[in-house]
Symmetry: C2
Subunit: 128 residues, 2 copies
DNA sequence: CGGTATCCGGTTCGATACTG
DNA sequence: CAGTATCGAACCGGATACCG
């Protein structure tokens, strides 16, 4: 366990951390990931998203898709029919991100029980 | 672009999205990622984190490391010396996650300007 | 169908001051 | 050095009602 910790590595940290913070500002938020995942398999309509992303309110779905659209992660296509039809789709940029999201998912699934266990241990230690 | 959207894929979405939401509850939050990245290169002391994660307040750093420790992502070692010395380090579980965090970073760097451009385009279109 | 508008409670977070 | 305590502002997000 070498402690090769210098000013240089602190510099590196800042360069790494800042763009990452930016991504999260775009991608985090309670519902963003859920919406991206739900839209990943093809064009999806508003109501389909509403059903797929379980628990989301209409308001939050609107705000979330707007934000994702603004950041260029989601494309929105309006068909001026009656009744109106709107389709959302991942942009190429978002499709690249999706792979990383999947590896996050995989990590979460592998360590789900570990996290629960860690919490139980921590809480038990505190209450003592 | 086939629209092979069925009940089955909706099922898949829910199975994927839920654990992902859980990860984010652990890992998101304004500062978590920054702290994890800052702690990735070896044992780091509290004050070092405070300097490395630019903009974080003492309070938020405390809350963040506590949360990460509780979830088993960060280990906390106290040396009972005067003055006190506390070192934080990624757990093995967190080190696995770090790879994914890096690919998030890489994505962010590749598309940083794309996102800025997308926003400018969107905002211009709205104000019109 | 695909949204908006408004209200409002809860949580988050920064600022500040204090401590073993 | 490594925290804790308290306060208030800002923001987030749910509920509800309405609209082209």
């Amino acid at each position: 366990m070498s402690r090769s910790h210098t000013n240089v590595s602190v510099q590196v940290i800042e360069e790494e951390a800042c763009p990452l913070a930016e991504v999260l500002d775009h991608v985090a938020g309670k519902w963003s990931i859920g919406v991206l995942v739900a839209a990943a398999h093809g064009p999806v309509r508003f109501t389909e998203l509403e059903r797929a992303v379980e628990g989301i309110s209409r308001r939050m779905l609107t705000l979330t898709v707007r934000k994702l659209e603004r950041d260029g992660l989601l494309s929105r296509t309006v068909y001026p029919t009656v009744p109106p039809k709107v389709e959302y789709e991942l942009t190429d940029m978002a499709r690249e991100l999706y792979g990383t999201l999947r590896s996050l998912t995989d990590w979460a699934q592998r360590h789900r029980t570990d996290i629960v266990a860690a919490r139980a241990r921590y809480d038990a230690a505190q209450q003592a």
